[in-house]
Structures are given as structure tokens and as C-alpha cells.
Symmetry: C2
Subunit: 203 residues, 2 copies
């Protein structure tokens, strides 16, 4: 797959990261097809696994799937309940996992999947337990799936809080720095154009 | 809490690991109260979070909660479906997470929780994607919860395949060695009697 122009399915195209991914991947000559719940070329909610089959059907053949989509609840640990853990699982794990599994029949033989996880898998913060749980699940899944889907590949990108989001979320990440979304997008390029699999890129 | 005799709630007491935990913890002078779905002093299925409140109510005050309970489906990646991922989440993640959260009101102020994860979080094998997902979720949760529950503590134990189970499961773990359940039980002792928190003990 390497550096040739690819058709890339971009899930979560409307967010901070999704926009950066669109710019970066387009600038590198790839054809980006945008997917979102409420915007984009293809309107699908991947947290409903039954919609993923319809998404792939509508999209046709693609070389790479990149996901920038995932939501989890944030609250103090004692205030979580069973439905919150389920929401984290459904909002960030299940859809991404099914993107890979259902995508095996639709992505090019040497194509790739790149999923989103995040710093909270390894750097705990107060209110971040559900995010950690979801991120840990995605990262371990990526390592596991990689050995079964070759020559297709799967990696995850684990960003710190975005520099663009520091105004809103910075207080939750004291002394932890930040990363510009454009730099996170470069890690997706590494996954899409490179040859690695089963990796988690932390930045 | 250190080395004094503790009252320990043992979830999943009837399995290979549960029996080893019972022997090891009892030999060290602790009072072990056994919990199981179909056997043990207290009959509760922790995969139903609503039963966990009843379990803690019935158990009364405890110093430590140790979990050896968790089931996940095993199959080739392409054969998994949404219900399988949900089963892995419910079978190994949700109950253990809620044991900690709901246990905060019942476990001694310097008490501990020790959860079970497993080698597949970091060492992928074919058919192990759901196990990996669940283990990764539990490990990241433990790191996250630790910073919110102090002075209570939480750790995870991540064992290789049990030596006692090699006859049945050995073919899935080629060249990966094994660990006797008695040695895994020692890691639980380290968690229960020690001072560490947020750790994952791999063995």
C-alpha cells in the first residue's frame, strides 16, 4: 500500500481531529471519504454495529479506514454506574472493533485500519476511569486483531489532550502538556502509508 | 492493612485459580469468604451489577476483595459479532469494575481490590481478540481507579495460561510457557498485603 494514493474512509470527520485528518490526508494525495453521524458524505452512526454493514455497502471499496470517533462519559468514579460503563464501551470500543471486523470484507487486501484511543489508558486523571477502560480495550484489541488480519493491518493512535482543546479541557490535564491535532494526524499517516501493524502510537 | 489477618471476599472461588487463592490466603491467616454463581458461601453472579449491591450487603464489612471471575468468548476474529464483544465486556469487565465502584462503601478504608486480567492483553493469540479487549479494559481501569480511591487500593493480576490447564488450552499458547495457579495466588497476596496500587502484576 505504501505511499500510493489511497481511498480513505474517515469516520468522525467533523471533529477537531477529523478535520485535521481530512486536511493532512488530502494534502498527501489521498481521496478522503467523510463519515459522520450528522455531517459528511456518508451519514452513519457506527456506535450502532448494524449500521456499519450499510456504511461499507454504501462506501464501496476502500484502501484504508481511519477512525476519529469515540465518546465516553466523564465523572468521578463513585458517580459512575453500570450504564456509564456500557456507554463507554458502546461509544468508543464496540463501533471501532466492528469497523475492523466487518471491514475485513471491504478493505483492500493490503489495506489498513487506524483506530483512536487516548492518553488516559496509561495516564490516569480524576473523572477518567471510563475513558481509560475504553482506551485500554481498544489498544489491546488492536494488538490482538493484528495477528489475525494480515496482510491487512490495524494500528491505534493514542493522543494527549489536543492543544486546540486546552481552553476547554486543560484543567483536567495538569502538567501533562498537549499535542496539536495536525501532529496527531501525522501518526495516522504513519499507519496508513507505512507497513506496521498492531502498534499503538502515543503522542 | 499490611500483614495482619484480613477478611477477604473471594469472587470466583470454585475455579482453578479460586481454589488456589482460597488455599494460599487461608494459609496466611486470612478469613476467606467464598462467592460463586453456583457454589460457595455466598451465591451471586457479579456479571449482573444489580446483584453486587446485594452481595456486599450480605457479606458485611470486608478488608479485601479478590476476583478470579471472568469469562469471554474465544473464536476467530471474523466469526465474532457485536453480541460476542458485549459478552466479553459483561463477562469480564463490567462486574469487576462494579465490584470496585460499589465496594468503595463496603471495603475497609485501607482495604484493597484485586482483579483478574490475563496475558492476552499483551500477547495476542488467534481467537483471543475478545479476551484481549476485556483484559485491556480491566488493566486500564485499574490504573485509572487507583488515583481516585486512595487510601483504598486496586491492582490487577495478569497470569499466563495456568500450568494446570495446559492439557486443555496448551495448544493455543505455543511456546508461551505457563504459570502454576499457586504462583498466581502469590501475586494476589502481594496486592492484598502490600501497599501498592494501580499495578498490573504479570506472571
Amino acid at each position: 500500500m505504501t505511499n500510493r494514493r489511497q481511498t480513505v474512509l474517515l469516520i468522525g470527520a467533523s471533529g477537531t481531529l477529523g478535520r485535521a485528518l481530512h486536511d493532512t490526508l488530502t494534502a498527501r494525495g489521498h481521496t478522503v471519504r467523510t463519515v459522520g453521524r450528522f455531517s459528511g458524505e456518508l451519514r452513519y452512526d457506527i456506535t450502532d454495529p448494524s449500521r456499519i454493514a450499510a456504511l461499507y455497502e454504501a462506501a464501496g471499496p476502500v484502501d484504508a479506514v481511519v477512525s476519529a470517533a469515540g465518546t465516553v462519559p466523564y465523572k468521578p468514579l463513585a458517580e459512575f454506574g453500570p450504564d456509564d460503563w456500557r456507554a463507554a464501551f458502546t461509544g468508543k470500543v464496540l463501533g471501532q472493533v466492528e469497523l475492523v471486523r466487518q471491514g475485513l470484507a471491504h478493505v483492500a487486501e493490503r489495506g489498513s485500519f487506524t483506530l483512536i484511543t487516548g492518553v488516559l489508558a496509561h495516564e490516569p486523571i480524576v473523572t477518567g476511569a471510563a475513558a481509560a477502560l475504553a482506551n485500554g480495550a481498544v489498544e489491546a484489541f488492536v494488538r490482538a486483531a493484528a495477528v489475525e488480519i494480515a496482510p491487512r493491518r490495524v494500528n491505534a493512535v493514542s493522543p494527549n489532550v489536543f492543544t486546540e482543546s486546552l481552553d476547554v479541557y486543560g484543567d483536567f490535564f495538569p502538567g501533562m502538556g498537549s499535542v496539536p491535532s495536525a501532529r496527531v494526524a501525522e501518526a495516522y499517516v504513519r499507519s496508513v502509508e507505512g507497513a506496521q501493524t498492531g502498534q499503538v502510537y502515543r503522542l
